[in-house]
């Protein structure tokens, strides 16, 4: 009897410890996030205004706003996504739907994606500079910056999309085939909609990575803060602007804080919109 009580006490203690550790880990993550957000808000919220978003930077960014930088950032992001998303998702579709999982080809592609995912961004920057800027003659431009970012995003987008497609039950594919549906029809009507939330999550991961990227853009899209006229103009990305303000511009801390606040806000907005869109798509096409 006493032994039983002892066992119960031990179990109770173990449960409590486990629960405490889990809650501690969760709070730690939340605290770090809130801390960063609070710090940014404290330093930058006073500087943040409609004019800050709408005016071009003056005096190396100390005065004025970030209008041209926002435009450059969004253009770079657009180029990167328009290039990377189709290639990455088609790669994922090929790997999941058309190639056996243990085939040499599939293994090789997956291995190269893993290697690519581990390459530091400065190396992508140097590659982009050598290939897009110099070899292809695109120079320091939004186009070469976006294409370099696209190379960086490929492994993230492809791996998440592959994982998402693999979560779709095999029974759907079998049933679709047994009903005489072509692979393309099954893909368009069943498999892609079912995988939409995971595809969207991967896309968000990619966008976050692209918006935060500094090193890869330093040598490719340049850091000219003027409003770009075309994709072949140099343009400064937001993350690069923050880096420049905090490292090279004395007295640039306050606009750096404000810019960082804008960057985080942008990420949050994109997150919310993309998730809403993905669930909308899933709900319209697929009902669970």
């Amino acid at each position: 009897m006493r032994e039983m009580k002892h066992i119960h006490t031990m179990q109770f203690l173990r449960e409590c410890t486990a629960q405490f550790l889990i809650y501690a880990a969760v709070s730690l993550i939340s605290v770090v996030f809130i801390w960063i957000l609070a710090d940014l808000a404290r330093g930058g919220i006073a500087h943040l205004s409609w004019e800050f978003l709408m005016e071009p930077p003056r005096d190396a960014g100390r005065a004025g706003g970030i209008a041209s930088i926002l435009v450059s950032t969004l253009l770079i992001l657009l180029v990167a996504l328009l290039t990377a998303v189709p290639i990455a998702w088609m790669t994922a579709i090929l790997l999941v739907e058309f190639v056996a999982i243990d085939s040499v080809f599939g293994k090789t592609v997956r291995f190269s994606l893993h290697v690519l995912a581990g390459v530091p961004s400065i190396v992508f920057g140097l590659f982009g500079n050598a290939f897009f800027s110099i070899y292809l003659g695109l120079g320091f431009s939004i186009l070469s910056g976006g294409l370099t970012l696209a190379c960086m995003l490929l492994p993230i987008l492809a791996s998440t999309a592959e994982a998402g497609l693999r979560t779709v039950p095999h029974a759907y594919r079998m049933s679709a085939s047994a009903l005489g549906l072509t692979r393309t029809a099954a893909l368009v009507h069943l498999i892609l909609p079912a995988a939409a939330p995971v595809l969207a999550a991967g896309l968000l991961l990619g966008i976050g990575r692209a918006l935060a990227e500094t090193a890869a853009l330093l040598f490719t899209s340049g850091y000219v803060e003027r409003m770009p006229d075309s994709l072949l103009d140099s343009g400064r990305a937001l993350a690069l602007h923050i880096f420049d303000l905090s490292m090279n511009v004395p007295g640039g801390d306050t606009p750096a804080y404000a810019s960082a606040l804008v960057l985080v806000g942008l990420l949050l907005c994109i997150n919310v919109v993309a998730m809403k869109f993905a669930y909308g798509l899933q709900h319209r096409k697929i009902m669970t």
């Binding site: 029974a171 049933s175 005489g180 549906l181 009902m287």
Partner: protein
Amino acid sequence: MSSNQHSGQPDAFTLGPLEAGPACRVPQPAIQVRDMSLLYNDKLALDKVTLDIYQGCITALIGPSGCGKTSFLSAINRLTDLIPDCRVTGEIRVNNCDIHYPDTDVQSLRRQVGMVFQKPAPFPLSIRRNLSLPLNEHGITNKTEVAAIIEQVLQDVGLWDEVHDRLDASALSLSGGQQQRLCIARALALKPQILLMDEPCSALDPLASGIVEDLICRLRGRYTIVIVTHNLAQARRIANYAAFFWVSGRTGQLIEFGRCQHIFESPSHELTAAYINGVRG
């Protein structure tokens, strides 16, 4: 009539006494399988199967697990094509056309030969869309026609009364038995001649299983049905013909094929007798 019989002179309007003679209808084969072998990774999984599946009848495939019944079934609509490293040799003729002939259109073969799986697998779409998607993909897009077919097949599987007021609800909200009947309806919507069923009742509770079994019986005559089942009592209840498969080593073989009654009451092979009586298997 009775006076005629007494006089020994048959009336012109009666058939007279029953006499032995030729059957009024000779069974026509819908599927002819000749020397069919099936290999996974060059290992023989099913060895030289030869049999005819008769039109309009229910043929049950029985035998222990791993004897190749499901593989045999999947070979008939070439679903084996989807399995990497799976190879089928020999000849399978569906309605007198060799399905391995290079010109065979797999999509239209699978339209002719419907399939229902063990686990109900409705698409995560609405009930209506589950039925209309395959129709649309096969070129039937006229809305009135599609709606008529949907109502017809749902009536056929006895689901119309249960779901007609919620056709736009998710198919996943249906119960297991309803989902399986929806899957059968989905296969029937394409107007197949042959229906392959891979243990269609085994994932269902006894009540739902009974409903599906009754449905299968109702489909007899209109469709040629090949059904894999581990439930011998069910095979005996519903099937006209039975094929008994056995596995020796890792290779499946067809041991005996014949009329259901014959297989269950006077099997000619001792393995069949042992399996039927629950001695082996």
